[in-house]
């Protein structure tokens, strides 16, 4: 099996069974139609994903080189199974035996993933326009909502972010955008680890003996 020799991303070294990897590999083969890599078009074949309003951002996240932990920036054209697993690792559930440091790293990784989703021009800041884009996408497809409503939501959110992160601003101060540190501050105290995960059913049916 060719993929078996590929190094498993380090985030996965905690308690992911080989069955789960096999399942994911089968899914990968299904999506890639038996090719070695997946391109953006391959995600079109998932009916359940069709009516997800942020479908574009999710698919984009798979090809975002920042998420793939590659040195360069920008978007990859295609990803292989190892990259697929790397992105999947952002959605791992918490394990019982994690210590403080691991939990903290875990949380930061998930928030970073979310941050990258907002920050579409890769400049390390979420600007007002980028925020508006995300809100518009979330509300897309609703004929009753005006573009103005989406704008006002985004503006309100940015103002609140500014007040959390920068405090009172002077009349001519401009809030450029939410940096990752600000982003972390906004989410302090809110439990995201249990919201951003996909849990595999424990179906160790009949195990192999080696």
């Amino acid at each position: 099996v060719p993929w078996a020799s590929a190094p498993v991303p380090s985030l996965f070294s905690l308690a992911v069974t080989s069955e789960q990897i096999e399942h994911l590999h089968r899914r990968f083969k299904q999506l890639s139609q038996d090719q070695l890599t997946i391109r953006k078009e391959n995600f079109d074949s998932i009916p359940d994903l069709e009516f997800n309003p942020i479908r574009g951002k999710i698919v984009h996240a798979f090809f975002d080189k920042r998420n793939l932990r590659q040195e360069s920036d920008g978007l990859a054209d295609e990803i292989n199974f190892e990259d697929f697993l790397t992105i999947m690792s952002y959605f791992r559930p918490i394990e019982m035996n994690m210590d403080e440091e691991q939990l903290d790293r875990f949380r930061k990784e998930k928030l970073k993933f979310l941050f990258h989703m907002y920050d579409s021009d890769h400049d390390g800041k979420i600007t007002l326009q980028e925020y508006r884009n995300v809100v518009e996408e979330l509300l897309s497809g609703n004929p009753h909502l005006e573009k103005e409503s989406a704008r006002s939501i985004a503006d309100g959110a940015m103002m609140e972010a500014a007040s959390i992160c920068v405090g009172q601003m002077g009349p001519d101060q401009v809030y450029e955008g939410i940096t990752f540190e600000d982003f972390l501050k906004m989410w302090q105290g809110i439990d995201i680890e249990t919201k951003m995960h996909v849990r595999f059913l424990n179906v160790d049916t009949i195990a192999h003996c080696y």
């Binding site: 069955e19 789960q20 096999e22 399942h23 994911l24 899914r27 299904q30 999506l31 995600f43 079109d44 074949s45 998932i46 009916p47 359940d48 994903l49 069709e50 009516f51 997800n52 309003p53 942020i54 479908r55 999710i58 999947m88 959605f91 979310l114 989703m117 995300v134 809100v135 979330l138 509300l139 897309s140 497809g141 609703n142 004929p143 009753h144 909502l145 409503s149 006002s152 939501i153 985004a154 959110a157 609140e160 809110i190 995201i192 919201k195 951003m196 995960h197 996909v198 849990r199 595999f200 059913l201 424990n202 179906v203 160790d204 049916t205 009949i206 195990a207 192999h208 003996c209 080696y210």
Partner: protein, 436 residues
Amino acid sequence: MEVVWAVGQVGAVWMAVVLCLIVLPSALGISLGISEAYMWVLVKTLEWATIRLQKGVKKPQPQMPQTPTANGIIERDETPMEKEIARLHRADFEFSHIFYFCRKGFEAIVEDEVTQRFSSEELLSWNLLTRTNVNFHYISLRLTVVWVIGVIVRYCFLLPLRFTLAAIGITSMIVGTTVVGQLPNSSVKNYLSEVVHLTCSRILVRALSGTIHYHNKENRPQKGGICVANHTSPIDAIILTNDGCYAMVGQVHGGLMGVIQRATVKACPHVWFERSEIKDRHLVTKRLREHVADKSKLPILIFPEGTCINNTSVMMFKKGSFEIGGTIYPVAIKYDPQFGDAFWNSSKYNIVSYLLRIMTSWAIVCNVWYLPPMVREEDEDAVQFANRVRSAIARQGGLTELPWDGGLKRAKVKDSFKEEQQKNYSKMLVRNGSIG
């Protein structure tokens, strides 16, 4: 010379055995108990194999979940969106929404409910067929020996036997219906046609080593009605005709299938459409309506899903069948995957390799439930009626209901469906008071 004669003798003995033990009893509708004995041996062997597999495990196993693998490999959080978002809501609503949709998106990418239905159901325990051996590796010598014996039995004994039976069945169907077709229309002709159809069906079912349990026979489809069933494989039709006579509906094919179609339509009024006619929905509905209106004609058999699904769920029923009128007799068919996978994955296998797989499986075991007849009510339209029938079938067969179209096997989601979902989400937002 001697060799040829010896082979000829063996062949003759073989044919005689087959005829006496299998063909004759099926023609008369009686059972000699051979298949029951075979199934008993098979079940015992598979139980033994499962125990051996479990013993082969070295490390302690966690508690196995109650839900079967067939329903998915990830734990889905079925909280409705409203509850989910209310829980997360602090200051910014869109952050909550983005979590929800992110997770849903990832769940869909790892496994989506629809594509899952177009590949075979995964088994919880190995049934000694290599084709299902995805999760299972070498366990013990004894198990491997049993598996090898299984292979020999299946390929060297069962396959030729089944092939012979299938050949006999198909030939007698063609010959029988052609002969009966020569007779003038009368009750004798109808009776003889039923006999021929039933006999050949029984032979073909034996050819697949089929064990079928029929439930609620009092609800069997009557003349002038429409029989509706969930679709898993081309064998479904044979399973049903084993217990009653139906008028088939379908497209005219070429080759062997075409020969069978042309022969059978002489004896019994099946409804075969040319390819060009199928496109014209009004024509199809008209012809079927005429057939149903004639109360002396056999009930027609329709599979409204339009394509083969893997028998874990029932997909959208096409409303065309429910616009014809008349009484609908729903039938639920559930195959037992332990003995052989009946699902035809038409994108993976063509019909010949599919039939070969079926004939080298252990057996085809299925349950057929006849449900009480249903009629379209005054205020129901065809789609609602179709959904009602579908729910009844899904509930009886223990299958999940999915609102999706079987056509998704090959095409993309319809835009209208997508918009529907988006509207639901937006309605929820407005209600939540998050906007304006």
